[in-house]
């Protein structure tokens, strides 16, 4: 390749992950056809079989999509609740040190406690329906948004705080006009992480309840027991794709909402610096 001719921007964005995808597919086929005997191929069905059985068969596809829909509902409602609760907690903690000292340890505890151990309890207390699943999801998704939002609210430029102090700005004005906008990039980072966690939370709750309507989690639990490995792979792909979609969505929203932020300016600079 000539030195000074660089490929177009879209190609530079698309090419590297495409190469990785091809390599993974190649390795997958290699595993299915070369490393595994034909009679044990169900352990790693080749990609086209996964697509044919999982997404090509209308009955199977309907089952997967119904599971995805339930999981998506749980994840999105869980995420909304986690975001609201997390933001409120972060705002409260940012307003007074004693509140932070009182609340934050428990926010950390939420992150360290084995949620899996609590999931059956939620089932006992609240039944195995929708509310318990959402609750599991909220508990898993709550910490990232809380911690990031708090960090953002706390990291406001002290000079700007002085400016507001000099103009005798009240708590509310300071929060709305200074702290929340300053914290937006951090809040969106938290939302993105929480969104991924919410999808995992929805699947985990469903996986452990094994009762009520089947989401992706239950399907993922059932398929290996029925030796439906194509369906298992299809369910995993669907779950990952949904997680990616949510992650991407918040990335787009974040970029639109924080176009003023320095982090949005770095990409062109890096590319310009390249040879």
């Amino acid at each position: 390749m000539a030195r000074k001719v660089s490929p177009p921007a879209w190609l530079r964005t698309v090419l590297p992950p495409a190469v990785v995808a091809l390599a993974v597919l190649a390795a997958w086929y290699l595993g299915s056809y070369v490393l595994i005997d034909a009679d044990r191929r169900f352990l790693l069905p080749p990609p086209h079989e996964v697509v044919r059985v999982g997404f090509g068969d209308p009955v199977n596809l309907a089952e997967l999509l119904a599971g995805l829909q339930l999981t998506a509902e749980v994840a999105l409602i869980g995420l909304v609740i986690a975001a609201v609760v997390g933001l409120v907690l972060a705002v409260l903690m940012s307003q007074a040190d004693w509140l932070e000292r009182s609340i934050f340890p428990y926010a950390v505890l939420l992150q360290t406690v084995p949620i899996l151990a609590l999931v059956p309890l939620f089932g006992f207390w609240f039944g195995f329906g929708f509310p318990s699943r959402v609750l599991t999801c909220v508990l898993i998704a709550l910490f990232p948004i809380t911690a990031n939002a708090l960090f953002g609210l706390r990291s406001v430029d002290p000079g700007l705080h002085d400016l507001f102090t000099l103009h005798h700005a009240g708590r509310w004005t300071r929060l709305v006009k200074l702290q929340l906008p300053s914290a937006l990039p951090a809040i969106f980072t938290g939302l993105r992480i929480s969104a991924g966690a919410a999808v995992i939370g929805a699947i985990v709750g469903d996986f452990f309840f094994q009762q009520g309507p089947a989401g992706l989690g239950q399907l993922i639990y059932i398929y290996p027991r029925r030796l439906q490995s194509e369906m298992l792979f299809a369910a995993v792909i669907l779950a990952s794709a949904f997680g990616l979609l949510v992650f991407w969505f918040f990335g787009v929203v974040a970029r639109a909402a924080t176009a003023w932020h320095d982090s949005q300016q770095q990409q062109p600079a890096v590319q310009a610096g390249r040879r």
């Binding site: 430029d157 000079g159 700007l160 002085d162 000099l166 700005a169 006009k177 906008p181 003023w260």
Partner: protein, 312 residues
């Protein structure tokens, strides 16, 4: 603003931080209405602390601070702009926080932006501007409050030399036009002398007033005044005070030493001997009237004396 009462008065003001560090020690300083005073001192010498005291952002741990001026303007070291707001939105912020009505604050903002020559970029975001332009936005925001007292905390520290000088010139035009009282903190001796009527020299931490140099150059000062002998002489005096004011010695001995040194070697360059502030050998017309005052004597405080021809 015609009266020459004080705009702000610090009396024996000291600041000790929570960790025990003494940042300022017994500083007395007064800025009269319509007067421009500059404070120079080494980095970390408590200059910013002094300004925060004057602004009321900080309470003195000793002494008193009395501010008579109602309308206060503060220009920070950084432009301190809200990055998500347009230039005009930033300039409007001051009025917004004071509760000025929308139409009125917009008018004030546009007027201020015109004064600093930034009407063209009113709709842009701060990040699209150069450092110097951002500083002017910050200045415009402060001007919307029609301040009686303007406090400047190393306002042009982060821009290049030429921009810095231009900003200084622009600031002086505003001072001449509006007649606010100004208190500028800077480490640039040339900037201090160019802008101020008096230059107060602060010692290294803990900050004490080491001495003071009056700058009798008439306003408006042309940019070229920086090359005049009088200007050079004044900056030399301030520099001498800065160099001399470092470790606090026994006051009496120092005074005697300084006087002896001054009379013994009148051609001494100003930077030669610590503890002596020495006028250069070729005083011009302005320099003759320039006087170097001693710091107000406080037991234990650094005291520096320069024996100029006109000093009694």
């Amino acid at each position: 603003m015609t009266s020459n009462g004080p705009a702000v008065t610090l009396h024996e003001a000291g600041v000790r931080y929570g960790n025990g560090t003494l940042a300022l020690d017994g500083v007395s300083l007064q800025v009269a209405a319509g007067e421009f005073v500059a404070v120079v001192g080494p980095s970390g010498g408590g200059k910013s602390t002094l300004l925060r005291l004057a602004a009321g952002l900080l309470a003195p741990s000793g002494g008193t601070v009395e501010r008579t001026a109602d309308r206060l303007g503060f220009v920070f070291q950084d432009p301190t702009l809200l990055p998500w707001r347009s230039v005009r939105g930033n300039v409007e912020l001051a009025g917004e926080l004071r509760g000025v009505r929308r139409a009125e604050r917009r008018r004030l903002a546009e007027e201020s932006l015109a004064r600093v020559g930034l009407s063209e970029v009113a709709r842009q975001l701060p990040r699209t501007l150069s450092g110097g332009m951002r500083m002017r936005v910050s200045l415009a925001r402060t001007l919307t409050g029609r301040p009686e007292l303007m406090l400047f905390d190393e306002p042009f520290g982060s821009v290049d030399e030429i921009t810095r000088e231009r900003l200084g010139e622009q600031l002086q035009e505003l001072f001449v036009a509006d007649g606010f009282a100004g208190l500028l903190v800077t480490h640039s001796v040339a900037e201090a002398v160019f802008l101020a009527q008096r230059v107060v020299v602060l010692s290294d931490r803990p900050g004490r007033v080491v001495g003071e140099v009056a700058v009798p150059l008439p306003y408006p000062r042309e940019p070229q005044v920086r090359f005049s002998p009088a200007f050079t002489e004044l900056t030399a005096r301030v520099s001498a005070l800065l160099r001399g004011g470092n470790p606090p010695p026994e006051p009496a001995a120092t005074c005697a030493e300084a006087k002896t040194a001054a009379s013994a070697e009148p051609k001494n360059p100003p930077s030669a001997e610590p503890k002596t502030a020495e006028p250069t050998n070729a005083p011009s017309a302005e320099a003759k009237t320039a006087e170097v005052k001693t710091a107000d004597a406080k037991p234990g405080a650094a005291k520096s004396v320069a024996a100029g021809k006109e000093v009694p």
